[in-house]
Every structure is written in C-alpha cells, then in structure tokens.
Symmetry: C2
Subunit: 121 residues, 2 copies
DNA sequence: ATTCAACCTGGAGTGCGCTCCAGGTCAACC
DNA sequence: GGTTGACCTGGAGCGCACTCCAGGTTGAAT
C-alpha cells in the first residue's frame, strides 16, 4: 500500500503532472489525498484508476465521457451504467477498426498501383 | 467531364465549403478553376483528389502530411515519395489498429468481470 | 538555518483543424 | 432592372485537451 509523489504518478501513468491536476480539477479523478502541507499523495488505487483512464483515452474516449466514467466509479451502485458506457465506446472502437481496415485495403490498392507504375519506369 | 459548384463539391466530398477553401488556402488542394466572375469550379479530378484526401483524413493523417501529399501529387515525378508517405502512414494505421485491439481485449475482460458482478446481485 | 528542487494555485496560452463572420460580388430568375 | 441566394475574401473565433506561467509554499538535504 505504498504511495506516490506527483512526479512518480505522472511517470507511472503516462500522464503529465499538469494533466493529473487537470483531471482532478475536471472531476475525472476523485480528489487525491494530501500531506499536511498540501502536496498530493497518490495511492495504488489512484494509480490503478489512472492506468485505466489512460487506456480509455488511448482508445479515443473524449474527456466528457471520461468524466462520466470517473464519476460513476465513485458510486458503487453504478455498475450497469459503467457497463453501458464501456459498451457504447466499444461500438465506436469497433467502427474505428473497421474504418481503418477499409483504409488499409484502399491504400494497399493504391500502393500496388503506384508500384506497378514505378517498375515500368 | 462535368463540373461542380462549391456546394456540390462539398456535398460529394463530405468536406464543408469552408474546409474546401481552407484546404486550397493551405495548399493541400491545388488552386481550383474559376469562372470569369471568380467562382470556383470543381472538376471530376478535383472531386477524385478530395475523395482520397477525405480517406486520408479519416485515417487520421494530420494536415501537415496531407499538404505534403497534395504537393507531391502536383508533380508527376514524385511517385516514390508518395509511396513512402503512404507506407509511413500505413505503419501508423497498423499500430493504431493493434492498440485498439488491445483495448478491446482489456475492456472485454473488464466488462465480463462487471457482468459477473451484476449477476451476483 | 539555508538552500533548492519539487510542489501548489488560478488563470492564461497553445496547437490543431476547422468554422464563422462582415461586408461585398455574381448570376439566375421574375 | 430588381431580388435573391450562392459565392467571394481576409481575418477572427472556437472546441478540445492539454500545457505553461507567475508568484508563492513545502520539506528533504546540507
């Protein structure tokens, strides 16, 4: 049950210190514990949350939805809502994958066309 | 070999009229033909270019690279460079797909965990 | 006791990719 | 010849997601 300084939390989560503060201000992350002097002290649980948030961000979830998810996680009786939110985003992710696949197909064609062109010169 | 008004070009390409002008200003799109009165007249070839640009944008290619691609297309002796640019972006797209797949796996796990939780209540 | 890096706050600034606006022009139609 | 709606330009504004800044505080190490 160790704790982490802001710099450590940033390093481990992959967010910048500024972003960590920003997420807290925005209510995405629950208020982080403080020392008597007012410095933030991140817990293992905070780090775990941050890791999942990182994952959601990397999958393109917008801040607004991230906030919603963060809020839901603070209330234990919201599992159904969380599931719904994740499912919704899963649909978006699948669509994005499909689109990228179509892109690959199209660009693959264009590339082989270009290559035939190059060979002939 | 028909032509298109700005409104038609926008409708067919999926870009807004403002975006079409913006792309032209930015040199992404070559200067479009004009009527004597100064109105733009898009050709089939413009539409075709726009369609491919749309495709590149949808695959997340940044404006800067789009501009580069647009410039290269105006010089016929740049096929090798175009191929290189597209290949580079293809790598980025593949990485994005891989990342989204990992996301799916992770969220899939979380979802089934949540669902077991829901069932037990 | 002093130093100094790391931290704090509120608020301003940034980069991207558009999007909107004011004020004017053009051209098809009645 | 007048109306009307699509179009023109240069430039300002916007939304997102941070990122940076000034000016001040904290606390571990010397």
């Amino acid at each position: 049950m160790r704790t982490y300084t802001p710099a450590e939390a940033a390093q481990r989560s992959g967010f910048s210190i500024d972003t960590l503060r920003y997420y807290e201000r925005e209510g995405i992350l629950a208020p982080v514990a403080r020392t008597s002097g007012g410095r933030r002290v991140y817990s293992d649980s905070d780090l775990c949350t941050l890791d999942f948030l990182r994952c959601l961000r990397d999958a393109g979830m917008p801040i607004e939805r991230l906030r919603r998810y963060g809020e839901l996680c603070r209330d234990p009786d919201t599992i159904a809502e969380r599931v719904e939110l994740l499912r919704e985003h899963a649909v978006a992710v699948q669509e994005q994958i499909d689109q990228l696949r179509r892109w690959q197909a199209r660009v693959g064609e264009k590339l082989s066309w270009y290559e035939r062109h190059l060979d002939q010169t």
